[in-house]
Amino acid sequence: MNFNKIIVGLCLSALIGGTFFSCSKLSEEPYGIVNSNSFYKTADDAVSGLIYAYAILPEVGYYSRGYYIITELPTENLTAKSDAGQANFELDQLRTTSTNADLDNLWTYLYRGIARANAVIANVPNVPNMPEADQNQIIGEGYFLRALHYFNLVRLFGEVPLRLEPLVEAEQIPAEKSTIPQIYEVIINDLKQGEALMTLNKNFEGRANRAAAQALLAKVYLHMASSGSSNALGYDFVGNADLLYQEALTYADKVVNQQQVFNFTDILPDIWNTEVYKNAAVSEHIFDAAVDRTGEREGNYSKLPNMFLPDPGFVMTIPYNPSDPNSSMINIGRGWNHFQMEAAHFDSYNDSDKRKTDLIVSQVVNPDGNTIELGINDFSRPFTRKFIDPLRDADKMSTNSPIIRFSDILLVYAEAAGPTVEGYAAVNKIRTRAGLGPLPANLSMSEFRQAVIEERAYELAFEGNRLFDLRRTNTMQKILVEKYGKSITSGAYFFPIPQRELDANPLMKP
């Protein structure tokens, strides 16, 4: 009867079903997910892995905002608008605590960058069938990026954990702080690896080459040398500072005198013209965090200019180059008025310094054609035009964040060389471009170096160098407090390590 057949059928299907799944492995087929099982297999994977390591740089938390908040607010250069939030003001007033959100943010991004660089350094050597030169270049760039992140970390926080291997298991998480000399050893070693593995070719925007490694190495040696000789906190390990100055000079010389892919730009506004520095065969921009206004999200494009630009209630137009009477007018939009220039910085320029007249905007033209003056104590204040994009698409801008600039290395060269002919020549080249006369002759070593540091304050203003220059010369108190009347409660030389790290890393102590 039909009924029996149904029963037999049901029993059979039950049996089959039961057997079927008791044997099944229940393994998971990930959908839309790349992971270590499927990646680092081809040369394209290697490039992609490196691109990922670079992509951390223009993130909001890093060079598109976070880095400038942390390096510029504590100095006499910038303060923040009144509703910028607690974390900004803690930095501005140098009273940072371990819960400072901005510091937590940058710390996190620095280590994310290190994790990505570690993945490149560890995995790319194992990619099969890859031309050795390509492999070396990529690994070298990985070393360069890791060194850059650690150099930022050691200058910001001092002793931090060293992570040199990709993290694949949670057991690797607890890590002790390493000492400052241990961290510098890694940085120098990485940069020397980078120098050896990379070529001098500059094929891509926003990627490092040999000159970038040499330039960064010069900065690293100079930071150590000057910190050691000025007895800055944490740098007693630096024995003979002169040897390190010599190393700084050697590497700065390689950049200044021994290569042609980067060079001095004669006209100040041209240094900051995206269409120039992105397209010229030779530019000042040795290494940038690169962005483009066609990107999809912030980090691919930059909103950094909005941080510097005021919001006077209208779209601003300014002359491209105030020193050139035939200069065209450019429309630079309006910003968020987040950073506000401090009078201390603005008033300290020599009045004929082009870096003030040409690179700081004190009057803007509104859409009605009226010129509006910006007062240094107003709500909408004079602002730097280093970060502008006249071709901006709403808030999407192509403004790269300059990480190493030729003029920076020229001044490193001068400072390392001291009051020699070459030293004078380097610093005076910068001064001449700024419309200033040469430095007085016959300065002593310390007077000369002090003068170069001062030159850096103007030449490299708003580029995230000033805080480190003050720290490495042990002059935080002398300049910020005694000269400019700021107060320092905490974080003068090293910022506190973020609480989240202290809480989650059992081997970490404040």
Binding site: F3, I6, I7, S13, A14, G17, F21, S24, K25, L26, S27, E28, G32, V34, N35, S36, F39, V47, S48, G49, I51, Y52, A53, G61, S82, Q86, F89, Q93, T97, S98, T99, D104, W107, T108, A115, R116, A119, V120, V168, A170, A175, G206, R207, K278, N279, V291, D292, E296, R297, G299, N300, F379, D393, A394, T489, R500, D503, A504, N505, P510
Partner: protein
């Protein structure tokens, strides 16, 4: 009125006539007995003097009445007895009401049912008719206060918002804590948004609370199981029922906002000045700021000699909120022959939100068919279709009264180019719509091999589709501005396929051994696909998101997550002499979601019960209709993790490498997840091959008492749940390059006590009064969390720059962690002495306490490491509810109260305008509220912690049942008025409802309505 007087007179005359005529005659009386919903009741005992009769399947009876008999008595176990005067009638129809559960009722427990009296585990049951009649877009909301041990938190009054449901506390740190919902034997997933079921279609809801009953759902049972049973087809002549509910709502609390623009401006100026704004830059000085004129205080007051008094005084509450009207209609029909039965219904539900232009529409259709193929095989299907449409959003009424809605040109008024807070602009111009379609179908075959052995196979599918439409114009929201118009279409598709096959054996041996065994296997496949299409930068706003391709920038994302669950399950119930009951249950689950090292999990449980009332030594004590002791022990699991979480997953990002190559795509370690509130992207993606389920070991001891034929019932339970291998996203040191990783570590315990009682206090001819209530107490404690003593949870709160909710060893979950505050600083010395510096030490600021320091004693500074502590607990000490119902003749009245006691709320909205007015000033040295200061960085402190206890008059219903047969063709008519959320007694911030979410934070959610409903139930 006049009519009823006439009727009363007629009845009175009739009675006199009856008395006169009642001499020794006997005659036949017949009629139909129905329940309160108009359904015929079978097996009702009808007594008339010495005669007894019983109703048949159609509810009809026929009885011989002696002449002297004045009344018929209708009784049925579990229902309220009814006496009806005969009055010389030949047809007497009766309606029996009652809520008590019959001990012979079958309770659904998963893969079958057991008689209520045979339950060994802790299972609560609720009839569909006991649900409150009030607008509820999801059924979960209606469970609040109904079942002891089931906590329902409704933190938002927005139409379509779900609820948070917890059974016996929280037992998972970051896996799901929601119970499993099983509808008609089909496991649907987490409770909380049960929108697909029309409350009018619910026959019963069973809640499996302990391990013994929930272990049959194995790795999904640890949070308890809610079994929903929809109304089944019944044979008989077609019955049609119509339910309607019309509701008018209003705000249940008065928003605490500025009532006066002058005070608002004074406060704003003072806050800016104290916050460090130069005097010349204060907001209200009668100057133009970013193109907008801000009046001065004098001008607002009308004291400026050169200007007229400022006339704008916008009442945003009136503009933003309304008294919404909601409707609900259900039409149902059921009937059929003994071989083919059907039940179907259609529902339309429309709920308007309190905020303007915010509404929720829902259409539900249901079909249930049952066919007897032959004496052994039956087959059937159950199909549910649901369509919902949700439009609009929450709006804020907390905008300055000083400025108008529109400017002089009729455009939306904005206080600056960056002002995106005009609620009228948002309501009118922002598109925010979501539509869902759900199709649920089950097909089953049931084969009865013999009287005692049957096999059931069931194939169920669930298809869910949701489409969200978003458009934000450039001038209305920040996101719109940032992107020059932001449009999106978000698609979500979910497919579930479940096949369950099981044998049921039910046999009694030698009259004393009763055995019921269920065993089988099931296969479940889940697949969720999503795609999100976004467009940014539009030419204009005309097309909204209708042509995303016209956007200058387009972003697409898509994803799929799939999982498979294979299970074996079995349960054996054994009863000896009908006194001693034993249940053994087990389930083995294998899931793709578990890590490679742990693919299969097994969850056994056992329970015993002893029916003392069946013992011979109790036979003299006849008033115990039930006296049962229960004990159970077992394991259940929680697999609330997402697919692929055991694998390492790479992230992807693009980087610009120059004009020639443009953007290149990179892959590498670290998978970016959502941003936290500070814009920091949280990075996960670190794999864990050992990841597995959480295991909850629990025992339960219970006592069921029923007195006087279940007229008084009490259920008591004590339980202890211990959960280990907790799934959680461990916050890992950011120096690892990751922010979190899924791990199994940690333990939580929940202990508690539950009490439910019901008493039919008065059961007289026309008057019934019953009282019921429940009480649940749960003690939750985090016992271990791997290497951590304290872990943050929830989200970082910008205002205090830390997370409020923490998991802390030895504390209840979600405990508040922060600083202690001790009033307000009265002088600078006071502030410095307290260990504060800078602006924080100034008079009028909050005085935080220096609790400890590096050396274990106060060190004169306030720092996060040493001066923070547990400052509150959002978990109630206990939850209680009580209800009463009273009926007299055809009128009935019921009320339900619901309360929570002893929970803390972190009140982020504490500084409401009515408190800002009481702020500290040199002239008003308040110790309660700090001075005005717009740059204050608040610390998370107990300044914000308030008692959240409340007692709510949840529901009050008055109903009237018209006499059956009043209108030809209509068997029952019931009209009722129901008020919901009528009164709340609390000490909490008066501007807000004290019922917040499980996290205990008052975020200032969508306000909760007070609802007044009018309902009609008609049975044909």
């Amino acid at each position: 009125m006049r009519r009823s007087v006439l009727k009363t007179c007629a009845a009175f005359c009739g009675m006199l006539f009856t008395i006169q005529m009642a001499v020794g005659q006997s005659r036949q009386v017949s009629g139909v007995v129905r329940d309160s919903e108009g359904r015929p009741l079978a097996g009702v005992t009808v007594k008339a003097g010495g005669q007894t009769a019983t109703t048949d399947q159609a509810g009809t009876y026929r009885i011989t009445v002696e002449g002297a008999t004045a009344a018929l008595t209708f009784t049925s176990v579990g229902l309220q007895p009814l006496d009806v005067a005969v009055n010389n009638r030949e047809e007497i129809n009766a309606v029996l009401t009652g809520t008590a559960v019959d001990l012979d009722d079958v309770v659904v427990v998963g893969y079958g049912g057991v008689k209520k009296s045979d339950l060994t585990g802790s299972v609560a049951t609720l009839k569909g008719s006991d649900l409150n009649r009030t607008p509820a877009s999801s059924v979960d909301q209606l469970l609040q206060g109904k079942i002891p041990g089931v906590q329902v938190a409704i933190s938002s009054g927005q139409p379509g918002a779900g609820a948070t449901v917890r059974i016996r506390g929280n037992s998972s740190l970051s896996g799901s804590n929601a119970p499993l919902v099983v509808v008609d034997g089909f496991p649907w997933g987490d409770a909380g948004d049960l929108k697909q079921i029309n409350p009018d279609d619910i026959e019963s809801i069973e809640v499996l609370k302990d391990a013994s009953s929930a272990a049959i759902y194995g790795s999904r049972g640890a949070n308890g199981v809610i079994m929903v049973t929809t109304k089944k087809a019944r044979a008989g002549t077609p019955r049609i029922t119509l339910n309607t509910l019309h509701t008018l709502s209003s705000l249940s609390v008065k928003p605490d906002l500025w009532r006066d623009g002058i005070e608002e401006a004074v406060y704003a100026n003072e806050a800016a000045r104290n916050g460090g704004t130069p005097l010349s830059q204060l907001p209200y000085l009668g100057e133009v700021r970013s193109g907008v004129y801000f009046p001065s205080i004098a001008e607002l007051r009308g004291l400026d000699p050169n200007k007229p008094q400022w006339s704008t005084n916008t009442d945003w509450v009136n503009l933003v909120y309304r008294n919404p009207f909601s409707q609900n209609y259900t039409l149902g029909i059921d009937g059929g022959s003994d071989n083919t039965k059907y039940s179907m219904s259609g529902n339309y539900y429309k709920e308007e939100g309190l905020a303007i232009k915010n509404a929720y529409d829902k259409y539900t259709g249901r079909l249930n068919l049952d066919q007897k193929v032959n004496h052994a095989i039956s087959a059937g299907t159950n199909i549910i279709l649901t369509y919902t449409n949700n439009t609009g959003q929450n709006l804020s009424a907390g905008r300055s009264r000083i400025f108008p809605v529109y400017d002089e040109n009729g455009n939306y008024f904005r206080t600056s180019a960056m002002d995106f807070g005009n609620p009228i602009a948002i309501a009118n111009e922002v598109l925010n719509k979501s539509k869902t379609i759900d199709v649920l179908g089950t097909l089953f075959f049931n084969v009865k091999f013999t009287e005692w052995l049957q096999f059931r196979t069931q194939l169920s599918t669930k298809f869910g589709n949701a489409v969200g439409d978003v458009y934000e114009p450039a001038s209305v929201t920040f996101r719109g501005y940032e992107n020059t118009g932001y449009g999106a279409t978000n698609n979500f598709n979910n497919n579930e396929l479940v096949n369950e096959n099981y044998l049921t054996l039910d046999k009694t041996f030698h009259d004393i051994h009763r055995l019921n065994v269920v065993g089988g296997f099931s296969l479940q496949n889940s697949k969720t696909r999503t795609s999100n299409l976004m467009g940014m930068n539009f030419v204009n706003d005309n097309l909204q998101n209708e042509n995303l391709n016209s956007a200058k920038t387009k972003v697409i994302s898509n994803g799929l997550s799939a999982s498979t669950l294979h299970s074996w399950f079995g349960r054996a119930n054994y009863a000896l002499l009908d006194k001693y009951l034993v249940t053994v249950t087990g389930r083995a689950d294998g899931s793709t979601k578990f890590g490679d090292n742990n693919k299969w999990a097994f969850f056994p449980s056992a329970a015993i019960a002893w029916k003392l009332n069946e013992e011979s030594f109790m036979s003299d004590i006849s008033f115990f209709s039930e006296l049962k002791m229960r004990a159970s022990y077992g394991l259940t699991g929680n697999q609330g993790i997402s697919p692929y979480q055991t694998l390492d997953r790479f992230g992807s990002e693009r980087y610009y490498v120059g004009a020639q190559n443009g953007f290149m795509t990179g892959f590498g370690p670290g998978l970016a997840g959502a941003n936290n509130e500070q814009g920091l992207t949280i990075v996960g993606g670190l794999g864990n091959k050992s990841l597995k389920w959480e295991t909850t070991t629990s025992y339960d001891i219970g006592l069921d008492i029923g007195l006087m034929d279940q007229r008084f019932t009490v259920t008591l339970d004590y339980y202890n749940k211990h959960t280990k291998d907790l799934l959680r996203t461990r916050t890992i040191a950011p120096s690892s390059g990751f922010d979190q990783q899924w791990v199994n570590d940690g333990e939580i315990s929940n202990r508690g006590f539950e009490l439910g009682f019901n008493a039919h206090i008065i059961q007289q001819d026309d008057l019934f009064w019953s009282v019921g209530g429940n009480f649940a107490l749960n003690r939750n404690k985090v016992i271990a969390m791997g290497e951590s003593d304290r872990v943050v949870t929830g989200s970082l709160i910008e205002m205090v720059r830390q997370n409020i909710n923490h998991f802390i060893i030895g504390q209840p979950m979600y405990a508040f962690y922060g600083y202690r505050a001790n009033g307000i600083i009265q002088s600078l010395e006071d502030g410095i002495e307290a260990g504060l510096t800078g602006a924080e030490a100034l008079p009028g600021e909050i005085k935080y306490m220096d609790i400890s320091g590096v050396n274990g004693e106060p060190d004169g500074t306030i720092d996060p490491t040493y001066d923070r502590m547990v400052i509150g607990d959002p978990t109630p000490n206990f939850i209680y509810s009580f209800n009463t119902s009273l009926s007299y003749k055809r009128i009935d009245l019921s009320a339900q109260f619901y309360g929570v006691y002893g929970n803390d709320i972190f009140d982020l909205q504490k500084m409401t305008p009515s408190r800002q007015i009481q702020r500290w000033t040199p002239d008003n040295p308040s110790n309660l509220y700090p001075r005005a200061n717009n740059t204050r960085g608040y610390k998370a402190s107990d300044f914000f912690v308030e008692d959240g206890s409340f007692l709510r008059l949840q529901n009050l219903t008055v109903g009237y049942n018209f006499r059956p047969g009043l209108v030809r063709g209509i068997s029952t008519i019931r009209v009722y008025a129901s008020g919901n959320n009528l009164a709340t007694f609390t000490k909490f911030n008066r501007g807000f409802d004290p019922e917040v979410g499980i996290d205990g934070i008052n975020w200032g959610n969508y306000p909760r309505p007070r609802a007044y409903s009018f309902g009609l139930t008609v049975g044909f």
